[in-house]
Subunit: 252 residues, 2 copies
Amino acid sequence: MGTREELGRVVMTACCTCPLRTQDSFAANQVDEIEFIQRLKKVERTAVAGEAVIREKGSPRELYTVLSGLAFRFRTLSDGRRQILNFLFPGDFVGLQERMTNESPHGVEALTDMRLCVFPSERLWDLYRAHPSLGYDITWLTAHEELIVDENLLSVGRRSALERIAMLLLHFYKRAESVGMGGPDGVLFPITQQHIADALGLSLVHTNKTLKRLQGLGLHEIANGRLRIGDLHGLQHLAEYHALPLRERPLI
Amino acid sequence: MGTREELGRVVMTACCTCPLRTQDSFAANQVDEIEFIQRLKKVERTAVAGEAVIREKGSPRELYTVLSGLAFRFRTLSDGRRQILNFLFPGDFVGLQERMTNESPHGVEALTDMRLCVFPSERLWDLYRAHPSLGYDITWLTAHEELIVDENLLSVGRRSALERIAMLLLHFYKRAESVGMGGPDGVLFPITQQHIADALGLSLVHTNKTLKRLQGLGLHEIANGRLRIGDLHGLQHLAEYHALPLRERPLI
DNA sequence: CGGGAAGTTGACGGGTCTCAATGGCCGTGG
DNA sequence: CCACGGCCATTGAGACCCGTCAACTTCCCG
């Protein structure tokens, strides 16, 4: 079956041939589990760069898995101050926290064009009942995202501006690489300095100056919307970032 | 059955008569679910104020539910800078993220004397298989904790020192109240200014001065280790904190 | 060629940090 | 009973990191 545009929705990438599943970093699933996911997945949704995937204060009815593209999760204060909570990569699962409240506590915005697998929120419980192993996987994904937010909170609370930026670049690079977005000239980096500022609790101006200073050290290079790491060890030392030796991650 | 001291462990509060379950904020469970939890819970552990419940970099083998008392979750950098990620109240579940790595990415330290229900980590999967509904609950608890960390990240990243402190006091108060720790003279507040500083990404000195300034506004009062809210509306406005209308929370 | 978004730069002010010192409270031990 | 030490709260002075304001440039795209 091919793909067909229809009201901003595309039907359909088959789960059994999901391009993400061919990657090492994702754990394998049983055939019946994949078939169940396939039945749960009614449609595929696309989003263009800059589009609001989930609106803050909206009432969400759907769960998503990022199939391709990048996004970020954020919250804003009424006067416009915005905090990016974490970036979303292919394989990330979105929408669980919204289910605990009537309105979504955060927004999700696309950084690039995206494809998302759409799951009806009200059938989440079916998944747990029919395939406890998949419920287990969803818990894993949730806990993993919290781990990342923890790390960001440590950065914003206790690292200096220079350390924060080193941390962000390094973390972004590693995550992008782990989902096969790496290449000889680095990874795609569709992120403005405003995004960096909002993710790190810094002002735009100070982000610019600090980023410039970091580039002067020659540890990395950002050009043509791509990020390349020159001195991985130096960045790790500066950011005091020790990548956790993660086990294979599940994929829903 | 009474309680008996034995190597720092107490045996045993029966789950079917768990004092937390009598509270409105916790959802009810089926009898067989509670019996299953009871079988999973091998022992009860106590911790004195200041004790390390989970050691950073340790290799955890157990999961905990806070039965009574308070604690906090934190991470530190090698030079000693510490970030408190969130506070733990009765009913909170601890230890999931540790399972994804070989060493615990964060520490947990008791703020007061505590009692904890201990579950063997390796039997978590049994729980999902035997009672998917409980697996669902664990996901809920994990997502809920992430929601709180999100909120803290927004505070630390984008709120001013005064707003952050207002936020912390308010949030702490509401959470304490929701688990029945409230009283006519406020809630127990076993937290030093150093804790507040570490939770909000501030220095101790600045925390002290800002807290003093906030107290001058008369919105709250801290005395004798207790926190009382004078002007709830004023604090909410200052912190721009809108308590999420949560549904009943599960309890494992 | 025009316009908007993103990046860059300088000046300046202020929020926050660090250093340093003091006082209160409390448990311990002489 | 009092001296002492340790933890916590408090306060002042000065420095610095970072935010704000305000340009200007570059780049892209129509």
